[in-house]
Subunit: 347 residues, 2 copies
């Protein structure tokens, strides 16, 4: 029921995802009167779906605390409960992010050994795609949380991007170990020292994200969210420049006409719908958040992501890494506790 | 002497800046044997310049502490001393950022009432240009520092962008007052409450920067630096997409040929050289940092910026605002000291 164009775009997303993943079964939580006619319009969709009627929905502007108190019978809460009960292998929503995070934490609980969930985003790069996390779940983080994010992001990268041995970097203002906040410097030290089987490459800077220097970029939810939205804003600004440049003269218009195919390809590559879906990592179950403003194509990307996750060994890999880290952290705790001083100026 | 192509690009920058600002006088600090022949090649440049020979330079990888201990006779230190002594109205360098900041703080001292300097960047937007600060001077900030940045950024925006009444926003992960770190929420409250003559519009998000919703975007140096570099990386990624899209087919190539002028215009607009120059605000004097990798065109932009600053009433305006804030902060200190709790999930 969540998102600007629901439930229409959800059903359209299911239809597209079914073409790519035949055999998938869908439980649709929401207002049956609205959903049933849309489902019945496509026999293949109708055959793969089961509608679970819910009379309640979580509003787009409900506070997380409100959703927790009043949203127990909402479509969002019941979809999460289906994951908890083992009826479903993943929950997908285009609704209220804060409410989804709060209900998911409450319903599914944290993965053992992980302190806090993170939202992972798939970021287009020169080399293909990278994972950036956290892009919005935590505004304040400790070094331990950043190390957890590194472990989860690496396993996630293998599961959804199929990269065998992802390179992991920590986002910082400079590549030198002396720069940055205490948390990032301590996490850097921890990731270098811990006996994790990670290809840790050290610090990466903001401009390195799009270059694809790291397959997994670790950061806190404040920075990650601002970086993600800044990149979206920049893409929109350049699209705007592009439009006005190609409308300026007769020859430019003619050129744009000849280059129509190139423009279409360009638009597809900078289209945020093709990488739609932030995944909540760190929970006991797969939860994918789709952009609220997306359409069927974007929603299908979020479904693809959830299906890839559900079919992977993600949870077992995280469990193994958490175990290794636990041993390492109890071994090295006195060392890591030493405070480091911050260097102030960055280039 | 600083920057990849110095001193050549510096002299070329001077030549270009002189066309736009005739009558400006330049003191060139550095190796006379290298500089003199370049200056003498252009009679108009030679007439406007005085060379101050320095045998020492600050290396690009010198630590700030090293520059402070050993760089007293360097071209960088002596250029800053000329500003302190009133011989020059602004210092411009394409050298080591950390060393420049450390030497500038040591030589010029902080502006009375301002705790820490900030680096301000000029950011292209849908509406023209905005100021973003801090983009790299401080990794940890207090609410008071963010308020100082708002005051300085607003005066800077009037001085260099000529906007009469700039809109000021604080960068956050959501537009709601409940979200974000304690420092940004406290700064937001302070800016709403203080009797400053500021057009404060509240929180802005990462995607709002390029839209130009605020003329001045206030943030800490960690976030600001990551946002700035992420935007640069995104622009480079899209330029790469553009290139490959227009080389894909015969028609696309033909289109690109017809649209050559449009491409040139587009490139000029996303060219980081045209907005080259981060200004160090909060010091007793004007110091502009040019990108190390820039050329004469970029260096001329940094010179333009320095000249605009030196000719403005910037310092007097800051002094007046600091005075107002001082009264306000001592009035409201007990209220601002109340800690606020953080809401964790962001959309």
């Amino acid at each position: 029921m969540g998102g600007d164009d629901a439930p229409h775009m959800v059903i359209e997303g299911v239809r597209l995802a079914l073409i790519r993943h035949p055999g998938t079964r869908f439980l649709l939580f929401g207002d049956e009167a609205l959903i049933a006619p849309l489902v019945q319009a496509h026999p293949d969709v109708a055959a793969a779906c089961e509608i679970r009627h819910c009379s309640d929905v979580v509003g787009m502007d409900a506070k997380p605390s409100q959703a927790l108190r009043q949203g127990k019978e909402s479509s969002m809460a019941l979809a999460l409960k289906a994951v908890k009960d083992g009826e479903a292998q993943a929950a997908i929503s285009a609704g209220n992010t804060g409410a989804l995070m709060a209900l998911a934490k409450f319903t599914l609980r944290m993965f053992p050994g992980i302190e806090r969930p993170a939202i992972a985003a798939i970021w287009p790069t020169m080399k293909g795609e990278s994972i950036v996390l956290d892009v919005g779940a935590n505004v304040d983080v400790s070094a331990k949380m950043l190390m957890d994010f590194a472990i989860m992001g690496e396993a996630f990268c293998r599961a959804v991007l199929g990269i065998d041995r992802p390179k992991v970097g920590v986002l910082n203002v400079g590549a030198e170990e002396l720069k940055g906040t205490a948390a990032v410097r301590e996490a850097d030290e921890g990731l270098r020292g811990a006996p994790l089987d990670l290809d840790y490459i050290g610090f990466v800077e903001g401009n390195d994200i799009s270059q694809g220097h790291a397959d997994v970029v670790v950061t806190d939810g404040f920075n990650g969210n601002i970086a993600l939205k800044t990149a979206e804003g920049t893409a929109r600004l350049i699209a705007h420049y592009l439009n006005s440049a190609f409308r300026r003269s007769f020859f430019a218009k003619l050129g744009a006409l000849f280059a129509y195919g190139a423009f279409r390809m360009l638009r597809a590559r900078i289209d945020p719908r093709s990488v739609n879906g932030g995944t909540f990592l760190g929970l006991n179950g797969v939860v994918v958040k789709s952009h609220g403003g997306t359409d069927g194509t974007g929603y299908a990307s979020a479904l693809d992501l959830a299906i890839d996750m559900a079919e992977s060994n993600f949870a077992q890999e995280i469990a193994a890494a958490v175990e290794k880290l636990k041993t390492a952290v109890s071994d090295t705790a006195p060392q890591n506790a030493a405070p480091a001083t911050a260097e102030k100026a960055v280039s």
